[in-house]
Assembly symmetry: C2
Homo-oligomer: 685 residues x 2
Amino acid sequence: MARWMHAAAAASLVFICQSANADEGMWPFHGFPLDRANAALKTQLDQAWLDRVRSATVRLSNCTASFVSGEGLILTNHHCVESCLAELSSKEKSYVEDGFNARSRNDEVRCPTQVADVLMEMEDITAKINAATAGKADAAANDARKAALTQLEQDCETASRFKCQSVTLYAGGQYWLYKYQRYTDVRVVFAPETAIAQFGGDPDNFQFPRWCLDMGLLRAYENGSPVKSPNYLRVNFAGPAAGEAVFVAGHPGTTQRLLTLAQLKQLRNVELPQWLMRYSEIRGRYIQFAQGGEVNDRIVADQLTGVENNIKVRRKMLDSLHDDTLLARKAAEQEALQKSIAKNPKLKAGFGDPWKDIETALATERGLFQELVYLENAAGFQGRLAVYARNLVRGTAEREKPNASRFREYTDSALPRVEQQLGAAVPVYAELEELRLGNSLERMREWLGPDHPVVRRLLAKESPAGLAKRLVSGSKLADPAVRLALWKGGSAAVAASDDPMIEMWRSVDAEARAVRKVYEDSVEAPIRNATERIARARFASLGTSVYPDATFTLRLNYGTVQGWTENGKPVEPFTRLSRAFERATGAEPFRIPDSWQRVKDRLDLNTPFDLSTNNDIVGGNSGSPLINAKGELVGLMFDGNIHSISGSYWFDDVKNRAIAVHPAIMREALSKVYSADALLAELGK
Amino acid sequence: MARWMHAAAAASLVFICQSANADEGMWPFHGFPLDRANAALKTQLDQAWLDRVRSATVRLSNCTASFVSGEGLILTNHHCVESCLAELSSKEKSYVEDGFNARSRNDEVRCPTQVADVLMEMEDITAKINAATAGKADAAANDARKAALTQLEQDCETASRFKCQSVTLYAGGQYWLYKYQRYTDVRVVFAPETAIAQFGGDPDNFQFPRWCLDMGLLRAYENGSPVKSPNYLRVNFAGPAAGEAVFVAGHPGTTQRLLTLAQLKQLRNVELPQWLMRYSEIRGRYIQFAQGGEVNDRIVADQLTGVENNIKVRRKMLDSLHDDTLLARKAAEQEALQKSIAKNPKLKAGFGDPWKDIETALATERGLFQELVYLENAAGFQGRLAVYARNLVRGTAEREKPNASRFREYTDSALPRVEQQLGAAVPVYAELEELRLGNSLERMREWLGPDHPVVRRLLAKESPAGLAKRLVSGSKLADPAVRLALWKGGSAAVAASDDPMIEMWRSVDAEARAVRKVYEDSVEAPIRNATERIARARFASLGTSVYPDATFTLRLNYGTVQGWTENGKPVEPFTRLSRAFERATGAEPFRIPDSWQRVKDRLDLNTPFDLSTNNDIVGGNSGSPLINAKGELVGLMFDGNIHSISGSYWFDDVKNRAIAVHPAIMREALSKVYSADALLAELGK
């Protein structure tokens, strides 16, 4: 299912990656190596092909998608639609569990917090940013860079109808302004039951062979009508052949392929183990909570799936970092670069030792890591209500500053999305809020220690669970009208509020801001400076024949349909429907839903189900179209195999495989199981 | 609280450790460096002192303890008595929560499964074992060694009234037979409430300064009467002075100070991360289960405390292994030894490359690791009922083989303890059994994969939770009479049983045995052979001026009362009662019980509470007496500071500190809070 949480990108660093393997690379559309791809695959792609694919590809808030009809119909994964389905559900009715099937346009329901972006223009702003930071010391340059990026976004949005977002590529080797057509009225059209969308559940996640109908359909609306999307991808229900050239357009979230050795060790030694312990415990709490009855099971399902997916990703990332051969390879690359710099007097001048500077900054980070995680990154304050409180306290205060001086998540460009989320009517389940907040407060006490000032203040006379219960039951922030009133009232209204959740965040905001300030000035700034120096040195020797690390911005890559060899045995690139029935146990997550059982006799059990390719994708590519050389959609990416997770750090062309839903099973399901004839007609079949 | 689970020792390897620091070392009583200790501490200990301390020290099944009166009164930690208290509790009454206070000998209640051992004699059997294995290849030598150890234990028990257990020291450099006086009638006399015994709970665990009255009193009985224990330790209620020479006698469980670099990496890369994820999830399930009401909270408390303690230990162990300086130090030591061997033709002859042999065996282990953990080590089958089923199926089958051919845990010497546990009337809570078994089956499916034959067979038509519910509700093994009947009926009775828990284990026993066989022959045997070669080389250059790794057998070490420096600030070695009241929040685990609040005015708030020393101890030393040069008990060890956890791999004399309860707070509590006047009189005050 390869879910990817967009929030993770904010703190990530970006680097230049050299494409060592034929099919490796997540190329921006302004840097796609057309000649190289055509030569490797014997295809004849041209700029028009690229333009059409670009404007057919959609970025959701959490995933990728694509237009598949001229009337705004958007195909993505079930797991990308799941949070929308959960927001539309209640204690009584779960669209996650039961699926969703709009019989007509009138039945299509707006997703409370989803957006759909289409990339329209890309502008290189590198020179402007470099001018803004020239001659400044680390921390000042860091501030100036952020201010300049905010200003350029603001100017762009003033001058155009687009949503403008800056993009840092090559660790600051390039800065771009990406301009999107944004649709904020995105409606759910179709989703199958989770039981078939995520057949095999967590045990099968990141495995192949696989049998998941991980599809969902949305539709973009504007002014109450479906948008026109003439550049859509036609679905080719026959799917691709083994060995056929295929392309994935999408938004890979984060890769860290050129972190320094010291940064990889920081992940391995500090961040990943602690994260895995924290979320393994939450997993246990969610599972046990779900045992409390059908309602509990229903309201926690979406959260639990997300947690389990992230655990699987991170534990394989940790495995990768525990693989000494990977670290040795990284060390050798680093050493080779250092040697080539030492030999080049031009590069060497003023170069300093960026690797050492990074190590120093990382030592600083270790010293403030727990406070950073628990206070500023809010690991101590989990749950929807706590997030609302934080956004209200922070957002109203930041909004009153000049745009360029604000935290980047509250600039004018970002505020409409903040407001959309504050105003969205989504369910807030008190039991789940208590669980999440209580757990996070308890772990904050564990890791900051019971004598930390914030912990002492909050928990002087209460247990974490007791405090959580009091805050959740006393807060009115579950009501969107209350949230919007505070938001509109600004910092004065927030300061006057006696909502206990607001009071709680007000009491810790200063300390959280203080930690962030130290982090930005003493960790982020010197690392940014050092990585820019490393990037420049790398650029000097390799030029733009390299691709930047993933940043949840639009990329294209190429490959072929193929399996791989596991423990000496070949893994075929296609699965078929029959085997899903054979593997079914009748119990979740290996249960084939009744809707399928009822029509089993009429199904073609030989229908291709899922397929594997060697495209280089990671989380964020979920929902990406798999495209053939003719520009047709021949698959729907939803996952990678287990080896693909180390794709965060390097691309292993021998074993790293991407996984897609085959179009044939979509047709079989829409036609025979879900009787979605109008949709099939719209899809051209 | 430093709980230490004895089971962990079974699979551990033992090595020779060189004592680098003045106060480092866990010395067996037959190898204690009297002259060196007397010189370092300016004391005059002699053999009589050693003999008296040895016969006053007690080994419990999970901890250390000591006789503190002539009438069999045994002092240990509250957390060492906690499992007994839990076994005596019910859904309605928790002695863990409320404490236990026998007003007279008649009120002392037998612990269902506890034993108390006193070490009486030690016999060197190295030559006999070496003779048994001489000239044999790895796997055959491994089998022959186990058979010889079993035979020697059997002969010893036939010839004496002692419980005889073989001990492997110096990784097979020495073999000993330890002969114990065993008491199986051990009764609980006194325990305070958990709230004060474990004040600060998990957040404070492995921290200092500290305020825990982590004490419990037991009494050994024989033929219905208290045993005579003339060699008891007199309690000196004044406690020790700062800087005073102090000694700890006890049973450190496991250290791994001379694992090879490859073995340390196996722990770091494979074992510890997976263990931490598994138990963090269980922690979450237990905490959420406890939210289900007072009864749930009560019946899971003991398990949860144990899990949290083990998590803290292992996460600091992982931190240690992620400390590159530690690994570099280990690498340097290994290299130095390799060089000294290369220079010595006598050592070099026939030495081979044991480090390489270990690496090969570890690679084999990685290939079977999940099956080993989930099947043979039963991580897939957790809970009391599953353990009973396994012991019944395995134990009855093994019992019918010749003694020397059995698994070592079912030899004649081991059987009485197996039978004691099968026959003990202890509570079995169905809800908790379902949780534990369901969770472990679910994780087994995750890690072995849904298509593993065992997983397919067990879960072909059921969910893990569904299967757990069916097995727990259908099993009769909660009844000790049912268990004993099956045990007495032998393998025929077990084969005929239709108890679903028995059926479950019967269906997987062959596969579990098969994995064990491969592990023993292809991992354990070559590693044992290789480590013996390394040990001999080390012996050759260092002799017995070194101490063996910990093996849950009796050791003595020496040190002084002292604090340390943390972040540039001194930590004083004593805490006082007043600060406990200041830190109390009123909510668990920072709640001071009513019994103390009621008499607060009468308490001397200046009473010393806990203290720290630089003795070299680890888990298993819990409950150990802290002894002064006069042979008086001046403290009760119950924990180490956070730095002590890396004591598994090395002793850091700068920061590694042991923590004890001060005798003064015991007197204050027994006198003013618990009115235990008879006990105080027996304790000589």
